[in-house]
């Protein structure tokens, strides 16, 4: 597990800015077949996460990994956030952490 570099809070929209870098995102799992997990980002776009174990559907999972493309992340670590999660607040944090208050995060 390499977490030496900072991992940026991202939603789908911000993912493309960080391709090749370490990111963290919360996805609402829609489909999971053990290889590729499809989920909804906090800004309601579809994201593909690779390398996750089988996770239960409709749960919120935080993924930390490398942004491979503008809609896929290769997971290194993950945490199950349960079945209820305030995506709106998290999405706001994503935006603030990449915008006005970047200095506190990156």
């Amino acid at each position: 597990m390499d977490t030496s570099s900072p991992s940026v809070f991202v939603n789908a929209e911000l993912l493309r800015v960080h391709i090749g870098k370490k990111v963290r995102a919360v996805v609402h799992v829609i489909q999971s077949d053990g290889e590729i997990t499809t989920g909804k980002s906090t800004d309601e776009h579809q994201l593909i996460v690779k390398g996750l174990p089988h996770v239960s559907l409709m749960s919120y999972v935080e993924v930390i990994g490398i942004a491979e493309s503008d809609q896929s992340i290769r997971a290194e670590t993950w945490t199950n956030f349960g079945n209820t999660f305030d995506t709106q607040s998290y999405n706001q944090v994503c935006q603030l952490a990449n915008g006005e208050f970047k200095g506190l995060f990156l």
Binding site: T3, P6, V8, I64, F85
Partner: protein, 279 residues
Amino acid sequence: MYGSEFDGSAAFSGGGFMPSQATQAPDPSFSTSKNRDSQSLLPLTVKQINEALLTSDDKSNFSIDGVEVNNVTLVGRVCNRTGRVTDVTFLLDDGTGRIECNKWVQEFVDSNEVEGILEGMYVRIHGHLKGFLGKRSLNVFSIRPITDFNEIASHFIDCIYVHLYNSRLRKLQGVGVTTQPQMPNPSSTPMMGHQATSVNQLSSQYGNVGGQKNIEQMVLDFLQLPASNADEKGVHRDFIAQQLRVSVDKLMLAIQNLVEEGMIYSTTDDFHFKSTING
């Protein structure tokens, strides 16, 4: 022999037993750092800690946004956990960086607490920031696993808020007040929140009264009319009730509240009232 080499005040300075020369000198920056306001708890990101400035003389004091940092609270994941009999060390990774943390295990409660902390777990930490030989680390008081993951977003919003509050207040204070580097009340950041909530509670209390509040406002408006102020005696309650078309019972309730709040007062007897605003 020894006496000539041994300088007691130098050897014990900072030990807390003998006042060193430095503390006796009326250094304004030092005396303000002794202020109990600087003992506030700051929510921070690891990046902020890593970029924190060392306050010039004292090697163990940090400053962020112009506020002295002592006690901090962080949220992040536990990495590289090493448990020993006497203490537990780990790295806390909050996504903005990593910082070494150390928790001493003294009592049974402590060992219970740290045993529940596993690698990769999200935790909330309260601790004391210390610097040693240029390395920053946290002396942890409490470590608690996060069960509601909204706390992560909430923590970072806290960090942003406190940063904004401290940096903006410092800017407002202006360049002219350079002799006083500390804000008059840096710990008021958390207090600000409390003040805000108390105001909210107050207004919601009023909200509960509902209709009553409207009558109070009506009475107040009525008593502030120029016509109501014409007579020095004020206005009789029956006249107010008649004009506002409310029952005397309801009116007296509203009047009582207004009198208690100091908005109106009774004049020659208990039936005539005037607004305090118009004197």
